[in-house]
């Protein structure tokens, strides 16, 4: 019963945030809508007993990623209103057709093929830090190390993109 109420409230909040993100003209409103959706999804993680993932969701997504987004929005300038005229004439109708057909495909697939896999008969999973760490550092330790490498490469790439100002081709580049 409690889970139903929580699901309805935060499901509506997630949908509202997502629609706000797509619809809002101002990118800051989009970021706020996305943040609302991410918090709602963190609540769903808690009600699915994924406690560690919920905390990581709030810290990484709602904290770090959205801060980065807002930083870039402020850097680029929030006063620039987006020109909403569409240059490709059939882009919008085609996009709507694709979205609707994708939704229909999801509904049909959900009705046809729902239960896959065998239910593990052990105790119900509880995603505590201990359980996730046990799994992560025993079975998945090599992928975990590789994600460390990936993060280093990403940080180095971001620094390289931000650091090198190609001043030498300023004359030949007409777009500066």
């Amino acid at each position: 019963m409690v889970e139903t109420v929580v699901f309805v409230i935060f499901g509506l909040a997630a949908l509202f945030g997502a629609i706000t993100m797509v619809w809002a003209r101002n990118p800051v409103y989009s970021a706020m809508g996305l943040m609302m959706t991410m918090f709602s999804i963190a609540v769903f993680y808690v009600s699915n007993s994924a406690h560690f993932i919920a905390v990581v969701q709030v810290i990484v997504y709602a904290g770090a990623v959205m801060t980065l987004f807002l930083f870039v929005i402020m850097l680029i300038g929030v006063d620039k209103e987006e020109d909403r005229t569409e240059n490709l004439p059939i882009q919008r109708p085609l996009a709507l057709v694709l979205i609707l057909s994708f939704g229909a495909a999801v509904v049909v697939a959900g009705r046809l093929a729902w239960t896959t896999g065998i239910r593990n008969p052990l105790d119900p999973v509880n995603g505590t830090v201990e359980a996730i760490g046990d799994e992560l550092f025993k079975r998945w330790v090599l992928p975990f190390e590789i994600t460390g490498l990936l993060l280093i490469v990403a940080a180095a790439g971001a620094i390289a993109l931000a650091f090198f100002k190609d001043d030498d081709d300023a004359e030949v580049d007409p777009w500066r």
Binding site: T4, F7, A14, L15, A18, M21, V22, P27, S30, L34, T37, I41, F44, Y45, S47, N48, A50, V56, Q57, V60, Y61, A64, L68, F69, V72, L75, I76, K80, E82, R84, E86, R92, A95, L96, I99, G103, G110, W114, G117, R119, N120, L122, P124, V125, G127, I132, E135, L136, T147, L150, L151, V153, A154, A155, G157, A158, L161, D169, D173, R176
Partner: protein, 101 residues
Amino acid sequence: MAVTPGWYMALAAVLFIIGAGGMLLRRNALVMFMSIELMLNAVNLTFVAAGRELNVLEGQVAVFFVMVVAAAEVVVGLAIIIAVFRRRQTASVDELTQLRG
């Protein structure tokens, strides 16, 4: 009425469709990027719900790895948007018609 994992799957599907729609309909590179994040979040929700349904922890481990990849992707993607903005003074993908240096 109990909330079965199917309800979470349905909500995640709707969120994914909204994200895909934002990706197709918007022309602001930042909002398109946020739509990608929304789609990743929707898929993460299906991972957790399916892990609960099948009673395994691997769903949550998969979410952890998706989050790491998404964080790396956001860092590089926003750096690219900044680099493009420094050259062209715009974040609209329609203006970026000439892919040259």
